[in-house]
């Protein structure tokens, strides 16, 4: 039997190469189909990986607590409009919830920053030192400020990459330089490593960090001392994220003396929630692209079926002769199935090359990230075999059911 299969494959290749143009055009459908599937899936995968990277750039196992809206005389402010969260809320969380490895806080405002004759409008964040740990910020030069800097409200600043590019000449060393934020002089003690875009698409590197106390007292001119823009916390383990978020809610509700029928005056978001929303979007994209590409593969399969039906008709006499000299039904079925699979597999392999090339070109021209995984290639290969088998079955079966006498007489 294996010898029979091998010989049938050789025969199929020879029969197909008799009519190269036709075989080529038939294969083209599969080439385009498989190529499209590979290219589309790789674009989808690339998008998904980019999203995952952005979500990861938030930090590790991060929980954010944002102040809720404030309602004054029936007029509702937007989210974060209220100043309901305070440093003491944060400290209470740290004390009451052992699951939290770090708790930090910050508040932000856009400020004019000046270095010599250059100036830049940047997002200034007053933060607790733990914030840097929670959000996984690292340094390309210099280092972080400490709790002591916060206690004494030192005028020290950490600069993001974008800010450095706009305030300093190339080759100029930012660490040690004195810049002015809202006319208050600050000493730069660290430059942050770049993080790129956030999951919302904003530039995370356009940022300046200063100690929370310094911001409160010397820069922002805060109305209520101790109020924060947001609280941040992190857990050791990913699976603690959701239970920790529930505990945070309980603690803050108790501190804010909210009655059971009152809504939260704050919002909690975990990294998992944010990741899920983002991932489902790119998942939808991948599925859609795959569906569109599959249609072309389907069309390719129909092309194979069509050409095989033509071939069965053309070779009716040959089928009759083969039957007369002793070919059984399964021999005839095998012959045509193998021809179909040969077409689809050769087409599939070429399609894989075209798909990889297409993904590369997409990355090169459009700048979209693409990922070609071994699984995708394997799946495309297996799928093209399946297409050949599926669409070859009907013509093969038709050929094998020919009556040998009629087939021999066919003109």
């Amino acid at each position: 039997m294996p010898a029979f299969v091998l010989l049938t494959v050789l025969t199929a290749i020879r029969i197909l190469s008799r009519n190269r143009l036709r075989a080529g055009l038939t294969m083209l459908g599969i080439v385009i189909g498989v190529g499209a599937v590979i290219a589309m899936v790789s674009i989808g995968e690339g998008a998904k990986a980019a999203v995952a990277k952005r979500v990861a750039s938030m930090g590790t196992n991060v929980i954010m607590v944002l102040p809720g809206s404030m309602t004054a005389s029936g007029v509702r402010g937007g989210q974060g409009g209220a100043v309901t969260l305070t440093i003491s809320d944060g400290m209470e969380l740290k004390k009451r919830i052992p699951m939290l490895s770090e708790v930090g806080w910050g508040k932000r405002d856009t400020m004019q920053i000046i270095n010599g004759n250059k100036n830049w409008s940047g997002l200034v964040n007053g933060i607790s030192p733990s914030y840097l740990t929670i959000r996984d910020w690292s340094f390309s030069s210099g280092g972080a400020f400490t709790q002591q800097d916060v206690d004494t409200a030192d005028r020290v600043a950490l600069l993001g990459q974008t800010v450095v590019e706009n305030l300093f000449d190339v080759g100029e060393e930012p660490v040690g330089a004195i810049i002015r934020i809202k006319n208050v002089p600050f000493r730069v003690i660290g430059v942050l490593s770049p993080k790129g875009q956030s999951s919302q698409g904003s530039d995370q590197d356009d940022i300046i960090f200063i100690p929370f106390s310094t911001a409160e007292r010397k820069v922002f001119g805060t109305q209520f001392l101790g109020s924060v823009g947001a609280l941040f916390a992190s857990t050791e383990r990913l699976e603690d994220l959701t239970p920790a978020a529930a505990q945070i809610r309980d603690v803050i509700r108790a501190r804010h003396r909210l009655q059971p029928d009152q809504e939260d005056d704050f919002t909690i978001r975990t990294q998992v929630d944010i990741g899920k929303v983002q991932e489902s979007t790119s998942e939808t994209l991948t599925v859609m692209l795959f569906a569109i590409a599959s249609v072309s593969l389907l069309v390719g399969g129909i092309g194979i079926m069509n050409i095989l039906l033509v071939s069965v008709t053309e070779r009716t006499r040959e089928i009759g002769v083969r039957m007369a000299v002793g070919a059984k039904r399964r021999h005839i079925v095998m012959q045509f199935l193998i021809e179909a699979v040969t077409l689809s597999v050769v087409g599939g392999c070429l399609g894989i090359l075209v798909g990889i090339l297409g993904a590369r070109v997409t990355t090169a021209i459009a700048g979209w990230p693409t990922i070609i995984s071994a699984e995708t290639v394997m799946a495309a290969f297996v799928f093209s075999i399946a297409v050949g088998l599926f669409f070859g079955l009907y013509p093969a079966n038709k050929a094998s059911r020919l009556n040998p006498i009629d087939a021999l007489r066919y003109e």
């Binding site: 039997m1 010898a3 029979f4 010989l7 008799r18 006499r317 040959e318 009759g320 002769v321 083969r322 039957m323 007369a324 000299v325 002793g326 070919a327 059984k328 039904r329 021999h331 040998p404 006498i405 021999l408």
Partner: protein, 239 residues
């Protein structure tokens, strides 16, 4: 000598729309191993139908057909294919070679379906081509061969499995006189030297003259059945 072929009350009825065609009407026939039989008759007399049934390409509507004491009338399609492959060789009027396939590969074809190793296929097919005088033309395609040569490839293909029965349906119908004579000489030799039973359908009396027994059909029955060369009397009707 044992009968290679025995047919008993063969009927073959076709339906063409509303019309019922009785191609064979209660035909009885017995052919011994080693005979050379010519079947003649006008078109529509049932020759081709008979040949198809004898060749296990078709089944009778009713009646029995024993080939080598096996009742072929009750066999399934795959079993018939096996019988065709192992016991019967076909030679057609229009040669029926597989196009764009070499003479050697055409001659190999029955062995291919028998599951013989490629090496053995080559050896046997080369030998068969040699027997019909086509040595050196193994690699030729049908289009590169004359009609007579193509028919000789077809004979080699029929011979390669060493069948007990060779069915030739107007093998010289598409050939000139010279080629016809060559083909008939080959068939005659196969019958005389190797004892292969040959049944030959023909319209031409000079071709039929190569056979030892001549059956003339009419309206789905045997009209006359006589030995033309041999002095051995016909065996009587089946007891």
């Amino acid at each position: 000598m044992a009968a290679l072929i025995r047919c008993e009350d063969l009927w073959k009825i076709y339906r063409l729309g509303d019309v019922e065609v009785q191609a064979l009407r209660g035909l009885n026939l017995s052919i011994d191993s080693g005979e050379f039989v010519a079947v003649m008759g006008a078109s529509g007399s049932g020759k081709s139908t008979l040949m198809n049934i004898l060749g296990c390409l078709d089944q009778p509507t009713t009646g029995r057909y024993w080939l080598n004491d096996v009742d072929a009338a009750g066999l399934r399609a795959d079993q018939l294919a096996d019988i065709r492959n192992r016991q019967i060789g076909f030679v057609f009027q229009n040669f029926n070679l597989i196009p764009r396939t070499s003479a050697l590969e055409n001659a190999q074809l029955p062995l291919f379906y028998r599951g013989v190793s490629l090496r053995e296929q080559r050896v046997l097919a080369t030998e068969a081509l040699c027997r019909v005088g086509l040595q050196g033309r193994e690699g030729h395609y049908p289009t590169q061969l004359s009609g007579g040569q193509q028919q000789r490839v077809a004979i080699a293909r029929a011979l390669v499995t060493a069948p007990s029965l060779l069915l030739a349906d107007e093998p010289t119908g598409n050939l000139d006189t010279e080629s016809s004579r060559e083909i008939m000489t080959i068939l005659d030799q196969l019958n005389k030297e190797q004892g292969i039973t040959i049944i030959l359908v023909t319209h031409e009396t000079d071709i039929a003259a190569y056979a030892e027994r001549e059956i003339v059909m009419k309206d789905g029955r045997i009209l006359t059945d006589r030995h033309t060369k041999s002095t051995v009397p016909l065996s009587g009707p089946e007891a």
